[in-house]
Symmetry: C2
Amino acid sequence: MVTEPVRRVPADESSHRLVRDMVLDRSSPVPLYFQVAQHLEAAILDGRLQPGTRFDNEVLVAEQLGLSRPTMRRAMQYLVDKGVLVRRRGIGTRVVQPKVRRPLGLSSLYEDLAASGQHPSTQVLSLSVEPASAVVAQALALPVETPVTVVVRLRSAADQPIARMANYLPHTVLTGIGDGLTESALEAYGLYQLIRGLGIQLHAADQTIGARSATAEEGRLLGERRGAALLTMQRTAYDDHGRAVEYGSHIYAASRYSFELSMLAG
Amino acid sequence: MVTEPVRRVPADESSHRLVRDMVLDRSSPVPLYFQVAQHLEAAILDGRLQPGTRFDNEVLVAEQLGLSRPTMRRAMQYLVDKGVLVRRRGIGTRVVQPKVRRPLGLSSLYEDLAASGQHPSTQVLSLSVEPASAVVAQALALPVETPVTVVVRLRSAADQPIARMANYLPHTVLTGIGDGLTESALEAYGLYQLIRGLGIQLHAADQTIGARSATAEEGRLLGERRGAALLTMQRTAYDDHGRAVEYGSHIYAASRYSFELSMLAG
DNA sequence: CAGTGGTCTAGACCACACC
DNA sequence: GTGTGGTCTAGACCACTGT
């Protein structure tokens, strides 16, 4: 028996064009699902796919792109995890807000400032080896009095002091490089950049953000009055094996700096 | 030709026992990959799987559990994303640190305090409808002067004031419930709990954390001296469709509160 | 070289939402 | 019902790591 072709509920026209014109390189080392995800994300960010746009169902889209369904699913799931798409069983897949999310992952103040074109500069106030205090030892899971490398830096942007940062590194981290950690290197690069350059994979970090009043000396250093509000942040960073790699205790001039976080629901 | 059976590099004994004893319920609505992930995570958290333990390769483990490789992969990938496992091509899969990660997702101060057994209490200082100021309008993406519901609360724990929280809700969010947002409800539950109870899916949030000095009035309210350091936090929360659902501007007594964040590398 | 995880395919069945 | 995403399977080939 002959019937009319099924009248599919159409997805938005814009997604049709986009999918039709998408070019994938099967010989590239970049995975197909990632190529697809990048194309889609770019289209969302530059407005070719507006928020609210609905996709065809994943089987169809996969077909149109010449991909298997699992591969297409993976591309979409990647964007869902990134917060760019929303999917609901029985409903469909839609584009959400193209908001630029800056998850503040394991970045450093230096990288943050550099990325926003603030021309950061660093002055190393001290670089030494000292026995670990109780707090430092606790944070790095070392016995008290274990020698650790201590670097104190003053971070500025646009010739204004922003933060005083004290970092503590266990010597196990520095074996094999020894003097890779020089004053000049520390003034040219962020600490995290140097650590990663040493082949250490940063994996996770615990942070505490608080506030207190500046002492007279801290005020002088940061160009604030005594008693001015300071932001404080303590951070312990861990590598793949769960070993504490770095502990930092930092103060920020609250009048010139704040933390911004974007997060997805959990 | 007959050869000796291949001498496999063995994984740790503890993982063998665990996998052998794992029971899966194929008739459960809980997905298999999730059941597996939960079993493994529980074993890691309670120490049956120590940090550093190495798994057999995923094909073997899948076999031992009577699962397909993709399903097993999915369970492991879930734990990798959660930061509990680390995988490296050519190397293997290992357990990392069982650190309790508290991602501080879209939780509220109320939920944080309640979870840590602090017996929080709330006092509604005001509940009204007011025209949106410039900042509020900007944060909620509304025209200036649009009427919004404003609730100001004082949050305490252990009879000590902790925070003053001002929240602004567009009326589009409240349609259909109207008076679900009462003073008594606000004093008994967290605001986010109430919003979720209204069937609204929280999706993402942008936050800014800063610090400043307390005014005399703020000091009185929070039991601090004038000029004491305050933590400040502004947050805009969005739903699935990217619509701003809530804006909050809060101050915290820094001597009694700080933010803790755990994060994975990105 | 052997062993590992990373990617991809082609299909199947199920649970949920809306009409 | 019909259409959607969610789960699961059985296999294949590839890329990277170490010996």
